[in-house]
Every structure is written in C-alpha cells, then in structure tokens.
C-alpha cells in the first residue's frame, strides 16, 4: 500500500502535474465563489482545454477544478448564505451565523482545514479499504438504498430548530418538489404546469439559492439596523479560529471524515447525505445543542470534513466500477475516455500512476487551496463590511445568473423568484430550508429505489424488513423516532411539574 502512495506522490509532485493542478485549483476557486456556478459548469466549460493535454495533466486540472469550486462554494455559503451545491447547504446554517457575528474568517479557515482533514481521511480509507468498500457497495440493492436514504432524511429532520414535526414536513416539501418533472420509470410528466423548463425537474441549485439566498435577502433588505451584515465590529483576531474553537471541532472533523468516507462510496448522494448526517450527529452529541443554528463551529467543521472525504471515496465507484456517482464524475469519466483510458476494474492495474497520482493530487491540491486562500480570507471578510444596500442587489444578480447558467434557461430564474417568496414565508412559519434541500436531492432516488425494490419483490413490502442491511437501517429509524417521542414527553412532564 505504501508504495502505491509513494508512486502517487512521485507522479503528482512533478512540475508538470503541479502546474496543472494549480491552474485547476485557482480557476476552480474563482469560479466557485460565484454562487450557482459550481463544479459542473466549470468543468464543462474548461473540458475542451484539456483535450490537448496528456491524461495526467488533464485529470490533475479537472480534479483541481472540482475541489476548487467546492471550496469556493463553501466560501459563499458562509459569507452570503448562498450554497453553491447541495452539500454546502448545511454549512450555511452555522457558517453564515458565524459570519454575521464577525467570525467569517474563523469559519472559512475551519472549512478549509476540515476539508483537508477530510481529504486525508478519505485517502487513507480509500487506500486501505477500497476492495471492502466495493464489496459493501455491491451488497446494496434498492431496498438498502431506500432505507439508508430514509434514515438520512430522518436525521436531517433533527436539523429543524425547535420543532421536529416541521422538520419532517420540510423534508416532505422537498420530496414533493422532487416529483416535479419527468418520472423516470413511467415517462409521465408530473407537476410542470405546462412549462418546458420544468420537464427535467426543479433545479437543485435554483432551489437552494432561492430558499437560502433569496429568502435571506427578503429578510434583510432595507431593514438591517447596522447597515451591513455584521452585528459586531471585526477584529484582527477573528481571521483565525481560536484555540477553543479548534478544540471543539476536532471531534466533529474526525466523525465527519469517517462518515463521509463510508457514505461517499455510495454512488450519487454520498456527499450530500454525509454532510447532513454529520451536522445532525454533531448537534446530537454537543453538550449544548442550542448553539447550533447560532454559530457553532462544529456545524461547519463536521459537514465540510464529511463532504470532502465523500468526494474522495466517490471516486471509488467511478474509477473502479466505471459507475459515475454524479454528473461531475460522469464528465471526469468522459475526460478519461477521450484520452483512451477506460475506467473500470482494470484501471488500477493498468494505469497505477494515474490512479494514485490522482488520489495524491487531491491532497496536494487541498494544501494549495489552503495556501492560496489564507491571504484571501481577510479580503472576503472585508467584503462583509460593505454596506448591505450595495451588496444585496449584486447578490440577487449573481443568484439570477447562477440559476440561468445551470441550464441556460430563464425558467430556472422564475423558479428562484417563486421559491424565494415561498421559502421566506415557509421559513417564517417554522419550516427551515435545509431539510427541503435534502428532500429535493434524495426525492427522485428515494422513489426510484422504492419502486424498484417493490418491483423486484413483486409487490411484497416485507422486502425492506427481510433483507438484513435494510432492516438494520429501519431499526435505527424506529429507535430514533421512539427516542424523539420519549424525550418530547419527558420534556412536557418536566415542564408541567
């Protein structure tokens, strides 16, 4: 195993590879800071540039783009409450609160640092456990996926401050939004109201920006007492997290990395699920859960570590099985195939330097990001001191153009406008946006796996309990529900006596 890592290091540390990785990271970071323009758009735009490069260089650059944009997305989540991707929706919850308290620097730094740790953990698990992870992934049939996603969704309902019922309803809202568009199994077109742009479904990016970003603008525009987003003055010290915050985050990062590494191997939704479950776990484990939602640094560290490690292990099914986990992976696979490298089980044996070089470049790229961004953090933090009345029109524009650019479709801008209003009203009525986003992301997959499982079992619903892995997930769900009810009843009796 160690010689593989060494091989990877020697490949990744050549000037050639380093240059391309750096270019990718730099451009990715700059693009990622623009809300709504995520890895997918960036990679799609820059893919043609890589055709003329050699496979190693091309892949280094693409990988750099990938996490460069991911990191940029974390920055806008924290500064402007605008998640660039669904994975970053959770970071908005506490990250933006920290920014409003003048601690944007600490939050951004912690996000970077946690990402680094997550990547290291992902690499370790990937090298040590790759065959094991693949074996587990093979055991996952539709019933298991369904139960796992259900578990993830329920965990996310915990994210709702104050009212678990509203958290569950929030998830249901998201699931309902997920039914908009073409039903994959039957081809029926649901809930599009005749709009051509909705046939593919509601854009996750559009909805995330609407519920988080636009709703936030509706909340703040014209009425901020201090004139800008920060309620206290920014001191020099708040550019880094202090010792206490680092100590609080260590456990979160460790747990998040572990969760992310395991969940990332499940094609498709690993990163999103991992970040939500990490947040929910940290909230449950914290000594004072009420800090969450007000600016708890673990709420940034855990999920960031989780989605970074998930990003690494997501390469396992892509590269070894040839199954891309999401659209970004599919593009990467496409890039490989253009260079005549066919992903699949033989990739590791036939092109070991490429595979391991790619893995190590993730780590090196993360270090580059850290170095690149440390001076930039104070710039980002200064940005928040600009009067809000100048910031918010530009933010609205960035949201509009970000929504447009996902599909070159003005319908998505309409979606943002509509759901911005709806999201603001819903938030005032206690429905937090994060569960809705998770519901939207997982909704279509949940339905597909449900229907597939039932089709395979010929309508026998006991298939979910019959298969052991699925049954254990459902058992955990049951335990969680019972615990929630018991705690609720106990609180009531304590209040009454």
């Amino acid at each position: 195993m160690l010689d593989n890592l060494w091989l990877g290091l020697t490949t990744a540390l050549t000037i050639h590879a380093l240059t391309y990785a750096f270019v990718g990271v730099l451009i990715g970071n700059l693009i990622g800071v623009l809300p709504g323009i995520g890895a997918l758009a960036a990679i799609a735009m820059l893919l043609p540039l890589t055709y003329s490069l050699d496979p190693t260089g091309a892949l280094m650059m693409l990988a750099g783009l990938y996490y460069g944009t991911s990191f940029g997305g974390a920055t806008t989540s924290i500064l402007l409450n605008l998640p660039g991707t669904a994975q970053h929706a959770v970071v908005c919850l506490d990250g933006h609160q920290l920014a409003m308290k003048g601690k944007a620097g600490a939050a951004i730094f912690m996000a970077m640092f946690a990402s680094c740790i997550g990547v290291i953990c992902g690499i370790v698990i990937m090298t040590a456990m790759s065959p094991l992870v693949v074996a587990i992934a093979f055991k996952f049939g539709p019933a298991e996926y369904f139960s796992l996603m259900l578990l993830g969704l329920l965990a996310a309902s915990v994210l709702s401050v104050g009212s678990p019922i509203r958290g569950i309803i929030g998830i249901l809202f998201g699931l309902i939004c997920g039914t908009v568009g073409t039903d994959v199994t039957s081809g029926a077109i649901r809930f599009t109201f005749g709009l051509q742009g909705l046939v593919e479904g509601l854009s996750i990016v559009a909805l995330a920006m609407a519920l988080f970003g636009v709703a936030e603008v509706y909340k703040n525009a014209g009425v901020l007492k201090s004139g800008n987003l920060i309620s206290k003055t920014v001191s020099r010290k708040s550019v880094r997290p202090n010792k206490k915050e680092i100590k609080q985050s260590v456990g979160a990062m460790a747990r998040g990395s572990l969760m992310g590494s395991l969940l990332g191997a499940l094609p498709g939704t690993g990163g999103v699920l991992a970040s939500f479950i990490s947040y929910a776990t940290e909230k449950k484990l914290a000594k004072d859960p009420s800090r969450f939602g007000q600016g708890a640094i673990e709420g940034v560290a855990g999920p960031e570590a989780a989605n970074s490690s998930a990003a690494i292990t997501a390469f396992i099914p892509t590269l070894t099985l040839g199954i891309p986990g999401d659209a970004v992976m599919a593009l990467m696979m496409g890039a490989l195939m253009i260079h005549n490298i066919i992903p699949g089980p033989q990739l590791i044996t036939e092109h070991p330097s490429l595979f391991w070089g790619l893995i190590m470049s993730f780590w090196i790229g993360n270090l580059m990001l850290l170095v690149l961004n440390i001076p930039l953090i104070s710039v980002w933090v200064r940005l928040l001191t600009v009067p809000y009345r100048w910031i918010y029109p530009i933010v609205i524009f960035l949201i509009a153009i970000g929504a447009y650019s996902t599909n070159n479709n003005l319908t998505d801008v309409g979606v943002v406008a509509f759901f911005g209003i709806l999201g603001y009203i819903a938030a005032r009525l206690g429905y937090e946006p994060a569960p809705v986003i998770l519901g939207l992301v997982l909704g279509p997959l949940l339905e597909q796996n449900f229907r597939r499982a039932l089709k395979i079992s010929h309508g026998d619903i006991s298939v979910f309990i019959g298969r052991p892995i699925s049954a254990s997930f459902l058992l955990i769900i049951l335990v969680m529900l019972v615990a929630m009810v018991v705690i609720h009843i106990r609180k009531k009796t304590i209040n009454n006596s």
């Binding site: 249901l172 039914t179 649901r190 509009a400 206690g430």
Partner: protein, 156 residues
C-alpha cells in the same frame, strides 16, 4: 385559534399536501407491485396533510408560543418591508422579461437598478451607478470570460 403562527403553519402544510394529493390523482396510481406515477406523490401529499393537521391539533409548545410572539411583533413592522420586497420580486420578473426581449445587458442593469431602489437609503443615482458597474462586471466575467449563452442585446 389564538396562536397565529401555529395556525398559519398548519394551514401551509395542509395546503401544500392538499395540492399534491389533488395533482397526483390525475395520474395512474397502479398497485404496489407496479406503482404508477401517481402513487408516490399521493403518499407524500397524504403524509404532509396528516402532519399539517397534527400541527393544528396538538397543544401549543413553548417554541410555538415564542415564535408566535415574534411573528406578531414583526407583523407590525411589515410596512418597512414592502418596498424592498416589491423591488426584489419585481426585479426578478423584469430580469426574465427583459432577458427574453432585451438581452443580457439591459436585463442585468434593470435587475440591479430596481433591486437597489428597494432600499430607502439608495438614491436613484447610486442605484444607476451600481447597475452600470454590475453590468460591466457581468459582461466581462460571465459573457467574455465564461462564455455564458445569453445574447447581450436582443432588439428586434
């Protein structure tokens, strides 16, 4: 019901659930072994409506009481919100319409201009300047650097 927050909250959920049920009945429901497209949304709608009703029925919790107080006090301040809300929402609508008929540049300018006018402290002149600066930034970054597919000018 005296707790407005609780009432509106429950009605909202029931409304969404109800609409979902209504919409899903248009589709083929199928049976468990061969679910049609309507089955899943129907289940979601029913679940949402049930939970919405439970919000209405269950006794007021401490959190709901707190939030009701916040809601009622902010309803008094609603007037200060109306101008920014109209401008932001209006800005989006204008962006879409001008985006189709006018092109990227006028759409961007009008969006920023109208949104900026939403804040009482922004003068028409400063909104104009903000609009122009954003348009220049937008065209150089999004159109020239990133080659976004959005015609700059669309007259005729």
């Amino acid at each position: 019901m005296r707790n407005t927050y609780k009432f509106l909250s429950g009605i909202f959920a029931c409304g969404v659930g109800g609409l979902c049920i209504w919409g899903s009945l248009d589709f083929d429901l199928g049976q468990l072994r061969n679910m049609g497209p309507g089955f899943y949304p129907l289940m979601l709608g029913i679940l949402t409506t049930i939970l919405g009703i439970s919000i209405l029925i269950l006794p007021v919790s401490e959190d709901e009481a707190k939030r009701d107080a916040i809601l009622k006090s902010s309803l008094l301040e609603m007037k200060t919100h109306i101008r920014p809300w109209l401008c932001v929402a209006g800005g989006f609508v204008v962006f879409i319409i001008i985006g189709v008929y006018g092109g990227f540049v006028p759409a961007t300018f009008m969006l920023v201009f109208i949104c900026a006018l939403g804040d009482r402290e922004n003068t028409p002149v400063s909104s104009l300047v903000l609009g122009i600066i954003t348009s220049i930034f937008a065209v150089s970054v999004f159109y020239y650097a990133m080659r976004i597919q959005f015609p700059l000018w669309n007259w005729g």
